[in-house]
Amino acid sequence: MINGTTLRFLQDGRVVEIDFAGSAMRPSTTVLNYLRSLPHHRGTKEGCAEGDCGACTVVLGEPGENGRIRYKAVDSCMLFLASIHGKQLITIENLAQRKGSETILHPVQRALVVEHASQCGFCTPGIAMSLFAFYKSGMEPTRENIVDTLSGNLCRCTGYQSIIRAAQELCSHREPDHFDANESHTLELLRQIDSQSESMQFVHPGQTYFLPKSLEQALRIKFENPGVHVVNGSTDVAIRQNKRHEYLPAILDISAIGRLKGISREGKGHYVGAGTSIEALKEFAASSFPALSPALGVFASKQIRNMATIGGNLCTASPIGDLIPMMFALGAKFEVIGANGKRWVEAEDFFEGYRRNCLKSDELLKGIFIPEIDENVLIFSEKVSNRRDLDIATVSLCGAIRRDGQGVITDIILAYGGMAATVKRAGHVEQFLLGKKLTVQTVDEARQLIARDFNPISDARAGNDYRLAVAGNLLMRMVE
C-alpha cells in the first residue's frame, strides 16, 4: 500500500529528494527551518514562528484545474516539509533572474523598489512572495484585494502606503514572467514526481509521517496507529512544535487525499469535504453562500486560509474557532467515518469540551453537510477582535432566527464563541426571545440575560466585563 519513502518536490528548477532515515531533518521540520538550513536560501525570514507576521511567506505551485500552475502563498513557518511532496516550492531567491552578472528583477520586485516599499527590508521577502502570488492570480488590484492579499504580512516600518502603491502599480499591467515561460516544463516535472508516488510514508528515527492518497488508506493507518496525530494544514500543531519543541512521534497528514476536498451540491444543501481549504470555502461563500462570508472575510490571513482546512478548524474544537458558531446556527451535520463505517453527528454534539471533539481513535471527519437557509430564517454573524484582520476572536456570535408570518420568533440559535470553554448557545436569551417579535426593546431586555448564560474569562485579549458587554450588544445587530 505504501509505495514511496522519499520526499520529492521542486525547488530552484530541480527535483529535491529527501530520505529522512539519514537526515537531520524530520518530516515535520518546517519548510522555514529547512530553507534556513540551506546555504543560499536565507532570504526567507523568521519573524514570529506562528503565522502572524508573514516574513516567512513562500509560494507553492501546484497543477491547477485549467492546466496551469496555481500559486498559493503560505507561511513556511507552519508548513511541514513532508507536506510539500509533489509541489513546487518558490522562494524569494527564485523571483529575480540572473543573466551573467546582471540581475533582472521580477516585476513584483521592481515595483517594490520603485515605490520605496522597503525600509528595514526584513518583511520584504515575505511581502514580495505574497504579491507574487497576487500577481499570478490575475486579481484586480482593488484596495479590498490588496488588503486581503497582505493582511498576513506585518510591516513595522512603512505604514504600508508604499506597499499598497507597489501592488496597485504592479497589477495594473501584468506581463508574462519567467514562470510562465517555464510553465510546461515545470508541470512536466511535477507530473513526474507525483506519478512516482502513491501513498507516502516518511520514516525518521523519531517520527513516522504518513501521507496517504486515499481515504481508505488513511482510515487503515488511523486504525493501526491509534495514537497518530491527524494533520491537514498543520497550522495548529506546527506552532506547538515551534514554541514548545514538541515533536509528534506519528503524524497522519490527510492533505493529499483528493476525495476530502471540494464542495458539492447535495440534496437541499451543500457538502463540504473536510480537506477543503478555508480559502476555497471563502471563494465558494462569495459566489454561492453569502451567509458564510462575514466569518470567512476575517478568518486569519490569505497564507493561513490557503493551508488551513474546514476539518482542521472544526476538529481543533477551540472555543474561538471561527467557523464553529456558524455550524451551530446553520444546523450543519458532520459526517464521521471510521473502521466501522459512517455516522452523522449534529454540529452541537461534535464538540465535547475545551479543544475536545467526539471523534473516536479510529475516526476521521469526512465532511460537513450545510443545509440551505430557509427564506424565513435570518442568519447573522460577527467576530469581535482587537484587530480586524488576522486576529483571534475575543467574542464571536452566529445567530439563526426563524420567524412566522407575523414576525414572531419560532426558532432561535445564538451560538457564542469566546464566552466559555467551548462554543456555547445562550440558552436563557434564546428562551426569552422565543415567541416574541424582534424589537429594539425586546432585544435590549434580552441583552440583560447574557450574564445568566455566561461567565467568561479575563485573558490577554479582554476582560470578563468587556466580553459580557459585547456579547449582549451583539444581539442589537438583529434589529439594526
Binding site: 532570504g43 525570514k45 540581475t103 513584483v108 522597503s118 482587537n386 484587530r387 483571534i392
Partner: protein, 767 residues
C-alpha cells in the same frame, strides 16, 4: 532619480540577498546561544544545578555569573543591570544562564534539565505599588516657568485629572540578535543588530574584561530598531560574546519572538496627573503636571526618557505658567527603554488630552482651542525650560491643513452623521506636534566619519550611524555624492564598524542624518581641499594657462568655478593625486553647536531646532463593540528641504501608523505575577495593512528650508509618531458623541476596543 534614489539596499531587500545577523554564516562551526531567564518577577535563587544539562550531547558550555571574566554589568549609564543574575532575580525575563549548543533544539533540551530552586520574594509590579513603597529610581526633576500656584488661583476655570498611557512593544521584525566570532589574542568581533555599535563594543569589552581595542562591533543593518536596539541590543551581544569567549567558537544568539517580547523593555508606561487653568476663550494660563514613569528594574535610558517627556509636556502651546515634575518609579519588570519619541509621546499625550477636555468643557471646537494656544512667532515663544521657539511653522502648517483637510466642513458633516446614527459614531480631531531635535544628553551630539577614495575614483563612506530601515545610509550616500560632485553609483556606504569610526553615538533621537551627514561633509570638504591644488594643476595643463580660482566638483568632473568649459574627470584627478602622493582618505567630525541644559535649574537650550507637523484624523466607532476604524487622515509635516522626499514620506507614514498602533490596538497586559500575557503577535496586535486609513493624504511642507542642518534638511524619524494623537482623540470625540458631548468620557491610551466600549457604556448609563 538624484532627488529620490531608492533605498541603497532596496535591491538586496527585494531579492532576499540582504544579510541580517541571523543570516550570517561565519566560517567553521557556529554554535547557537540560548539565554535562560527568570520566570519570576522577584525571587532568591536558593540553588541551581547545571550538571544534567551539561551532559546533553551537543551542549558545549553553560555559563552562570561566576563564569563572567570581566564585569557582570550591561549598563553603561548607572551600572545597575547585571549581565547574569547573581543570587536574586529582579524581573521576569532576567538572564540567569547562557547555553552554547550545536543547535537551537539541543539548547532547548538542555534548558529543560537545568534545575533551579527559588524562594519567592514580594514584587513591585505597578507605579502605584512603587509609590506606596517609595521605590524611586532618582529624585524628582522639575522644569518651571512663571508662577503656576498664583496663576491657578486667578484662573476662571480649572480642571484636574489623570491619564494613563500604556507600554508599547517595539516589534521590530528582526528580533534581537548577535553573532560573535573570537579571534587571536583574545580579540572578539561582534556582528550586532544594534543602534549603538560603540556601546555594544564597550559592554562586550566590559563583560569579557578586554580593552576596547580588542573588540570590534559591526552593524550592516537592522531589521528594525525603533529604539529597542539602542541599549538592549547590547545585552544579546554580551551574552553571545561570553559564549563565544568560553567556547572559542563563533556563536549566534537570536532571540525567539516570544522570548524577545518577554525579556526586552518596552516604551515606558506613564501615569500622569494634571491641573489646567484657562479663561472663557480657552486660553491656557497655567498647567501643572506630574509625570510618573514606570522605569522597570534598571535605569537604562529612563532619566533621559523622563527628561524628554518633560520637555514636551506643553507640546506646541505657549503657556505662561507651567510646572512640570517628573518622577521615576522602579518596578520588578524588564527595564523599559528607548522607543521612537523617547518620552515625548508620553508627555504630549497629557496636554493633548487636557486640551480636548478644555474644549469640551467650554463647548468649543478643540482645534480652535489648540490654535489659540500655539506658540507665537515673535512673542509668546518661550518654552518652560527657557529656550525660544524659532522658525515656528505652526501657523503655516495650520493654514495648509485646515484648507487641504477641509476641517471645518468636515466638523459639520461629522456632527450631522452623529445626529442621524446611533450604532456608529464618528469623531474628528486635529493635533499638532512640536518636537525638539538633539540628544538632550548634550555630549551625545557628536559624530565621526571616514571617507575613502580609491584609485578608480570610487568612494567608500564610513560613518557612525546605523541603518535600521530609516534610510540613513541612502541619505548619507546622497550627501557624499552631492558634496563630492560624483554620481551616486560611485559611492558606497560601508557597514558601520567601530574599527573605522570610533566612539559613535547611538543612532537615535532622529539625529542620524543631522550628525553623521555633517561629519561626512566635513571629511569630504577636507578631501576637496586636498584635491583642489592637484585639480588646478591638471586644468592649467589642459588649458596651458596659469589660472587661479575656486574649484567646483560636479557630475564626476572638476573645473574652475569661473570657467566651467574646461574640465577634468574626477577619476583622472584621483589617479593623479595618488601619483602626486596626496592622501585620499579623510576623517570627518561634527558636534552640534550651542546646546546645553542645566538639569538642576531646569533651564537651557537643549535643542538645536524644532520639527513641526499637524494631522487631522476622522474615525468611526462601533458603539456595540468599541471597535474603531480610521476613515481618513491628513498630514502636513515639516522636514525642511528634504534630502530624499520618498524616504521622508516613508518615515512620516510609518511613524504615524506605528503611533496609531500605540494609541489603539497595542495593549501590554501582565498577569498577577508580572508575567507578560501577550508575548507574541497572536495577542499583541500591531497595525496591519487593513488598519491603515483608506484616505491618507501626506504632504511634506514645501519651501521650508531649515538653516540649522545638513543641506537645509530636518530630522524626521520621531516627530510624526505623535501625529497619531489625531486618531486617538478622534476616537475620544466619537465616544463623547454618545453622550452628546455633555460629559467628559473615561479615556486612556491605548484606546483599544475594551477601553472605548466600557467608556461608551458608562456614558450610556450601562457602565
Amino acid at each position: 532619480m538624484t532627488n529620490n534614489p531608492h533605498h541603497e539596499s532596496a535591491i538586496q531587500h527585494v531579492t532576499g540577498e540582504a544579510v541580517y545577523v541571523a543570516d550570517m554564516l561565519p566560517t567553521g562551526q557556529t554554535l547557537r546561544g540560548r539565554v535562560v531567564y527568570s520566570p519570576h518577577a522577584h525571587a532568591r535563587i536558593v540553588s541551581y544545578d547545571l550538571s544534567e544539562a551539561l551532559k546533553v550531547e551537543g551542549v558545549h558550555d553553560i555559563l552562570d555569573c561566576k563564569r563572567i571574566p570581566g564585569d557582570n554589568q550591561l549598563s553603561v549609564v548607572n551600572l545597575d543591570e547585571l549581565c547574569l543574575a547573581d543570587g536574586v532575580v529582579h524581573c521576569v525575563g532576567q538572564a540567569m544562564f547562557l547555553i552554547a549548543a550545536e543547535t537551537d533544539e539541543i539548547a532547548f533540551e538542555a534548558e529543560k534539565l537545568i534545575r533551579v530552586e527559588y524562594e519567592l520574594l514580594d514584587p513591585i509590579l505597578t507605579i502605584d505599588e512603587a509609590m506606596a513603597r517609595g521605590n524611586r529610581l532618582e529624585p524628582p526633576r522639575r522644569i518651571e516657568i512663571g508662577n503656576v500656584d498664583d496663576a491657578l488661583k486667578r484662573c476662571k476655570h480649572v480642571l484636574s485629572g489623570e491619564l494613563k498611557t500604556g507600554a508599547q512593544e517595539h516589534w521590530y521584525l528582526e528580533t534581537q540578535a548577535a553573532v560573535c566570532v573570537p579571534g587571536e589574542d583574545g580579540e572578539m568581533t561582534v556582528y550586532a543588530s544594534s543602534q549603538s555599535p560603540t556601546e555594544t563594543q564597550m559592554v562586550v569589552a566590559g563583560v569579557l574584561g578586554l580593552p576596547a581595542h580588542k573588540v570590534v562591533c559591526e552593524v550592516r543593518r537592522m531589521g528594525g530598531g525603533f529604539g529597542g536596539k539602542e541599549t538592549q541590543g547590547n545585552h544579546v551581544a554580551a551574552w553571545a560574546a561570553l559564549l563565544a569567549n568560553a567556547t572559542r567558537k563563533p556563536v549566534l544568539l537570536s532571540l525567539f519572538r516570544d522570548d524577545d517580547q518577554k525579556i526586552t523593555g518596552k516604551r515606558h508606561p506613564f501615569q500622569s496627573i494634571y491641573t489646567i487653568g484657562f479663561d472663557d476663550e480657552g486660553r491656557i494660563e497655567a498647567y501643572m503636571v506630574d509625570l510618573h514613569a514606570d522605569v522597570g528594574i534598571a535605569a537604562d535610558l529612563s532619566m533621559a526618557v523622563l527628561e524628554r517627556a518633560m520637555f514636551h509636556a506643553e507640546n506646541a502651546y505657549y503657556i505662561p505658567n507651567v510646572r512640570i515634575t517628573g518622577h521615576t518609579w522602579k518596578t520588578n519588570l524588564p527595564s523599559n527603554t528607548a522607543f521612537r519619541g523617547f518620552g515625548g509621546p508620553q508627555g504630549m499625550a497629557v496636554i493633548e488630552n487636557a486640551m480636548d477636555r478644555v474644549a469640551r468643557y467650554l463647548k468649543m471646537d478643540a482645534a480652535q482651542v489648540r490654535f489659540k494656544n500655539f506658540y507665537g512667532i515673535e512673542t509668546r515663544n518661550e518654552t518652560p525650560y527657557g529656550q525660544m521657539v524659532e522658525n515656528n511653522r505652526l501657523f503655516t502648517i495650520w493654514e495648509r491643513i485646515i484648507a487641504s483637510g477641509n476641517y471645518f466642513e468636515r466638523r459639520k458633516e461629522v456632527e450631522n452623521y452623529n445626529r442621524s446614527h446611533t450604532l456608529y459614531k464618528r469623531g474628528l480631531a486635529l493635533t499638532p506636534v512640536k518636537f525638539g531635535i538633539s540628544f538632550t544628553t548634550s555630549f551625545l551630539n557628536q559624530a565621526g566619519a571616514l571617507v575613502l577614495i580609491y584609485r578608480d575614483g570610487t568612494v567608500l563612506v564610513n560613518h557612525g550611524g546605523t541603518e535600521m530601515g530609516q534610510g540613513l545610509h541612502t541619505k548619507i550616500r546622497q550627501i557624499a555624492a552631492l558634496e563630492l560632485g560624483v554620481p551616486l553609483e560611485w559611492v558606497r556606504i560601508n557597514a558601520t564598524n567601530t574599527s573605522k569610526v570610533p566612539n559613535t553615538s547611538p543612532t537615535a533621537a532622529s539625529s542620524g542624518t543631522d550628525l553623521n551627514g555633517m561629519a561626512v561633509k566635513n571629511a569630504v570638504d577636507k578631501l576637496k581641499e586636498r584635491l583642489s591644488p592637484c585639480a588646478k594643476m591638471m586644468l592649467n595643463e589642459v588649458c596651458g594657462s596659469q589660472t587661479e580660482g575656486d574649484i567646483t566638483f560636479k557630475d564626476g568632473q572638476v573645473f574652475f568655478t569661473h570657467e566651467p568649459t574646461h574640465r577634468v574627470g574626477f577619476v583622472e584627478l584621483v589617479k593623479r593625486a595618488y601619483i602626486e602622493r596626496i592622501s585620499l582618505h579623510a576623517t570627518g567630525y561634527y558636534s552640534t553647536p550651542g546646546i546645553q541644559f542645566d538639569k538642576d535649574r531646569g533651564k537651557g537650550t537643549p535643542f538645536h531646532y524644532f520639527a513641526f507637523g499637524m494631522a487631522i484624523a476622522e474615525v468611526e466607532v462601533d458603539t456595540l463593540t468599541g471597535r474603531s476604524k480610521t476613515l481618513r487622515v491628513d498630514i502636513v509635516h515639516d522636514v525642511g528641504d528634504s534630502i530624499n522626499p520618498q524616504i521622508d514620506m516613508g518615515q512620516v507614514t510609518g511613524a504615524f501608523i506605528q503611533g496609531m498602533g500605540w494609541c489603539t490596538t497595542e495593549t501590554i497586559k501582565r498577569g498577577s505575577s508580572g508575567e507578560l500575557l501577550n508575548h507574541s503577535p497572536d495577542t499583541y496586535k500591531i497595525p496591519g495593512i487593513g488598519d491603515t486609513p483608506e484616505i491618507f493624504n501626506v504632504e511634506l511642507l514645501p519651501l521650508a528650508p531649515n538653516p540649522k542642518a545638513i543641506r537645509k534638511s530636518k530630522a524626521v524619524g520621531e516627530p510624526p509618531f505623535m501625529l497619531s494623537f489625531a486618531v486617538w482623540l478622534a476616537i475620544k470625540d466619537a465616544i463623547s458623541a454618545v453622550g452628546n458631548h455633555e460629559q467628559e468620557p473615561d479615556f486612556q491610551l491605548p484606546a483599544n476596543c475594551e477601553v472605548v466600549l466600557l467608556s461608551m457604556e458608562k456614558l450610556k448609563g450601562n457602565g
